[in-house]
Point group: C2
Chain length 709, copies 2
């Protein structure tokens, strides 16, 4: 790719970004779009619908930027929980790192690189006069110092972020009101004893060994059949609503309608209503039936009278047989992923293996796709593949768009399909909570992003060279030093393209289209349909953001030109995501900031990768002294990581006795605790047991439907 192609790409994307932001500021002010652009405000009743037509509403404005910028971190904590704060801290951390990196890169490394290149092309007499500046060997010491400097800065910032978020996490816990999952644990592998039910076994076990703290338990039931029935009735209900809605807009059908067709529809309607009635009856029978015959699963949520009691039961192995009475942290009641409990142990075991293989397979498939896309940057190759395009490709603009813009666009679009697949994989792995599923999907996505986007492009998609690198570990730094710089221009283009995809997050095109269709077509659910606030999918966003950190650090020494573009990315991202967190997304669960360790580890990985590249570069440039002097850097970084693991990670895994006991004591004087414990007894009931008219699996509209039928 040539410089002009890069300029084209920057131009297009900057234009698109500004356009999308302007479009957003206009669209947001439009009547009816508030539900798309500020669902949280609508739900809270804080949104003001523009009352009348105003010319100002059609002009782009920047007020939303100020409104996104203004609120404090405490406001963010209140609005999006600690996970939201952690998410925004990624941007703050990255902005700090890359501000320094960009200054060092642009004002020191870039001139040095440039001088180095000019030196190489200069004639010998001149180079002899200013030998010091022009010796490429001497110059590399700038890069060497820069590597040490940036490592020190990143580690310092990592440390202070970890410390800050640790204290935030503890403060958040102390400030929280009593929550069911602090008092509960999940017990699995309950041994079956003849003559007594699971419930009785749990009761007697915990009454025996935790008599002073045990409160109650909720046994989990086998619900796959019931779940199937409810899904069926839900589908049928939806079809029925669709059918029913047609006569309500008579102009649609009277125009082309025949009486026979109308009669047939009525007939169908009756049949469906009958079927639905049967199904719902079945559901009710099944609900009452199971609770009698007790198709229990050897798993139960056990609640305790104190947080410390729950923590004790969680941490100490309960039974002499370590695979019986296995304890696990209980997720929040609305975070529990109920369908999981219906799968058998063998199913989970097999699906774990299948998921492992499938994830690798997905990465490999994507690697091949990426290899093809990378081929697009070489026009000649494209011409060989698709000869009929030869004439079109001769137009400069087209060829520049194709080489500069198209490959990264394709990658962006394709990779947007991966997060749902990875989440599906994680769902199959047998996690008991949505948050755990998303955390696991986040890990998978990270691997995917690093391999399929970074390494795949770095290695230009040749599977053999990848294999060679793995099988010849000694050569890794040198090979990286050869292949990584070769793709610098592609990744600059990739970063630039990402500006647009960030801004499209702002305009929420898909949601907007759905909203428009919903409004103008009555086949969408009823007007009184409950208003759904979307939640942010951390498992797709966090890896995407971390990739840019990885790119920035890896290319810091090799191609400092990428740094300002990355800095711009994080600036745009900071504003846009703050805006979205305050206006659009509401938190679905609260992990208490458990995504941060993932961010920390990935940054450490990026640093090590940078060191490897530096070692390789110095080795290639015949500067073995510098190459060996960089060696302590990865070792020190890993030692630092080890210290952080000891110092901070336990805080993100469990709360300390100190905190738990303090909190428990504070509760003792709280008069509302009795009420809370009463609620705790039913907190972990599978919502599928609720009467169908209140079940989230079939909308609330079942009951009016049944009444009317």
């Amino acid at each position: 790719m040539i410089v002009s192609a890069l300029a084209t790409s920057v131009g297009i994307n900057l234009g698109l970004t500004v356009l999308l932001c302007a479009l957003y500021s206009v669209l947001r002010k439009q009547r009816g779009n508030l539900e798309v652009y500020a669902p949280r405000l609508v739900a809270d009743g804080r949104a003001r619908q523009p009352s009348q037509f105003n010319i100002e509403n059609l002009l782009p404005s920047t007020g939303w930027v100020r409104r996104a910028w203004d609120p404090s971190e405490d406001d963010l904590l209140g609005a999006s929980g600690l996970d939201g704060v952690v998410f925004m801290r990624i941007f703050i951390f990255s902005l700090r790192v890359f501000s320094v990196a960009a200054v060092v890169g642009i004002f020191i490394l870039l001139p040095v690189n440039y001088l180095g290149i000019s030196c190489a092309t200069l004639t010998s007499p001149i180079s002899r006069t200013n030998r010091w500046i022009c010796s490429p060997f001497q110059m590399l010491w700038f890069h060497f110092s820069a590597a040490y400097l940036i490592t020190a800065i990143v580690c310092y910032l990592l440390y202070s972020e970890y410390k800050y978020l640790s204290s935030k996490r503890i403060a958040h816990f102390i400030a929280s009101k009593p929550l069911p999952h602090h008092f509960a644990i999940l017990v699995r592998g309950i041994p079956l004893r003849d003559g007594s039910s699971i419930g009785d076994t749990v009761e007697s076990f915990f009454m025996e060994y935790h008599p002073s703290t045990y409160l109650c338990h909720t046994v989990v039931h086998q619900t796959s059949k019931l779940r199937r029935l409810i899904t069926d009735s839900e589908n049928l209900y939806r079809r029925l609503t669709h059918l029913k809605s047609s006569p309500r807009t008579p102009e649609n059908h009277r125009n082309g309608g025949i009486l026979g067709l109308f009669a047939k529809k009525k007939d169908l309607l009756g049949r469906y209503e009958k079927k639905l009635e049967d199904l719902e009856e079945n559901v009710r029978v099944e609900q009452s039936d199971i609770s009698v015959t007790k198709e229990e699963i050897p798993a139960a949520f056990v609640c305790f009278k104190s947080r410390y009691g729950a923590a004790t039961a969680l941490k100490i192995q309960q039974s002499d047989n370590p695979i019986e009475w296995v304890t696990e942290e209980a997720p929040e009641p609305n975070d529990v992923y109920w369908p999981f409990f219906s799968t058998s142990f063998m199913q989970r075991w097999i699906s774990k293996l299948v998921v492992f293989v499938a994830s690798i397979f997905l990465i490999i498939v994507f690697l091949l796709v990426a290899a093809f896309v990378q081929g697009l940057t070489y026009l000649e190759q494209l011409e060989t593949w698709l000869p009929f395009l030869k004439d079109i490709l001769k137009i400069t603009v087209v060829s520049q768009i194709i080489t500069g813009y198209l490959p990264s666009l394709i990658l962006h679009v394709l990779s947007s399909y991966v997060p749902p697949i990875m989440k599906l994989f994680s769902t199959m792995q047998g996690y008991i909570a949505t948050s755990q599923i998303e955390k696991s999907a986040c890990d998978k996505m990270l691997w995917f992003v690093i391999w399929s986007i970074f390494f795949a492009n770095v290695l230009t998609g040749s599977a053999t060279s990848l294999l060679q690198i793995i099988l010849d570990p000694k050569e890794i730094p040198v090979r990286l030093a050869v292949v990584v710089p070769a793709q610098a221009s592609f990744f600059i283009a990739y970063v630039v393209t990402s500006w647009t995809s960030l801004s499209s997050e702002l305009t929420r095109t898909m949601a907007l289209i759905c909203n428009l269709i919903g409004k103008h077509c009555s086949c969408k659910s009823d007007e009184d349909d409950e208003f759904q606030i979307p939640s942010i999918s951390y498992h797709s966003e966090i890896p995407r953001i971390l990739l840019f950190g990885l790119l920035g650090l890896t290319y810091f020494i090799l191609a400092p030109l990428i740094l300002p573009f990355i800095l711009v990315f994080f600036c745009i991202g900071y504003i846009i995501y703050r805006n979205q967190l305050f206006n659009v997304y509401s938190p679905k669960y609260d992990t208490g900031g458990r995504f941060w360790p993932i961010v920390h580890n990935t940054t450490i990985f990026s640093l090590i990768l940078m060191h490897l590249v530096a070692i390789g570069i110095f080795g290639l440039k015949k500067l073995p002294l510098a190459s060996s002097l960089v060696l302590p850097l990865p070792v020190l970084t890993l030692l630092f990581n080890e210290y952080c693991r000891k110092r901070f990670l336990p805080i993100f895994e469990a709360y300390s006795a100190e905190t738990l006991i303090k909190k428990d004591r504070a509760d003792q004087n709280d008069p509302t605790m009795g009420e809370f414990f009463d609620k705790l007894v039913t907190a972990y009931r599978d919502p599928i047991w609720m009467p169908i008219r209140h079940s989230p699996y079939s909308n609330e509209h079942n009951s009016p439907l049944l009444h009317s039928s």
Copy 2:
């Protein structure tokens, strides 16, 4: 090495073994040797000193074999604790494995190998007639089936041993009387608060957060100065005793004695006594001084009122800062390694790194030595190195001894110096208990044994080929298949030599010599000196025994001839170690069988190594189908290991709530518990604080000495 050399080696070692056993049976019956051969019986007062001279006492007998064979496992448990039982289970397990392996190896694999070789040398007409038997490709299927068979058997036996020892461990705990370390934990990283001592901080922290279970604490003190003083006084005391003992045997000195020398000696005696008195005064001052000025270390043993209370405090992170109030299992009071507490954090951190490097260095040095020793098996090489030996080496017996016996003897002798070094390394690493030090030394020894003895000899000491193997992981199986069989004869000789070293364990040559010198030379400590019962060093014995398991499994397919020799080794070892555990060694500590997971893991490692060799062999013999069909074997073995880790390992790490609470409840009705808790208060006092006359660091004879001075 030729077959006759092997025969020589077997002959020599069998002879030596029988000789040593006979010698033992005779020596044991001698008056005065009882303290060497049955110190435990002497200590228990169960030993009968042979009253008068009897010709029978000079004849070898086999009565000791029966006496070692007879006792049940419960007797062993009583005599040597669970660690002794685990140690003997290694022999039982190995005997079972290698009985089956030897039968399969000798009666199936060996004939098949032999036929295979004869086939290769047979002429074609004959081989055509019995093609099935003679096709070497077909024959390998025997080896293939044998690999599956032996893996299944080993895994089954590993599972049942783990299960058996797990239940033994729990039963042992339940049957135990109240022990201080079940009620105590060690707390480190106690934060220093201005104005209050460590003791007060600990007291207030545990009174605050564990008011119902906290009992008492013992702060650890900085004792390096005191320890130095006591060592000095001890040394001085020893020199003094030595001087004093001279006049007691006047015939020694009167013969060559001059009056002036005598006077000088008296003068010296007086000076030494004065100095000793000063030193002891210093010790007393120091002892009282520190307890006033409180040179406390931020570590304390905290005792609880119940085992469950201690376990709870141990398992739950106490403070919000995970590097403060770090809890650790408390070792038995007499197992605590007190000097450790005097080292600073930085010292420990540095010594950890130093130990790591030093261990690797030791292994490499030994690798080089082993390479030289291996060279001895090739006479020509020896002749080149030491040309003056040429004539001697021409004598058949000499050359056979050198090639068949000398190399493994040198290895045996040299490797006997390694365990103390490894133990020293582990001591420097900062473990707080002798048992932990020995367990860590056991791990180090295993690495050492596997690398320096197995791999070093297998790779014939060429460091480059080792590096090549590591850097080219794909080729590992094939390379192993080439290099492992080449050393089969050496390892057969090594196994055979080990018979002798086993038997020398029986005769305890060093202890016998010391005893003889001590008796006939009064410079040894006084007659009333307390009788010391030795303890077995598991960290040197277990790796040595496991090496033979590794050899047996690795050579099972390649050279089944080794199996009967290994079987004999385990038979001899079983009887000898039983004898020693009952008569000689008394347990120094009780880890509750925690050495077994090491045995389990090493056996799994041996299995995987066997699979790799099998894959390589089948690959070499152009049988890719068999080679790929072996592939599931290591995977299945690792899955089995994973299951065992889940199912059994936690039992060896901690006791379950169930067991702890049951045991606590049983104690509630025990009237002696009050007394036990009283003792618990002082159980974890550093013995260095005891008045010097009772301190183990200076013998009990200080006080009479001081009285006499």
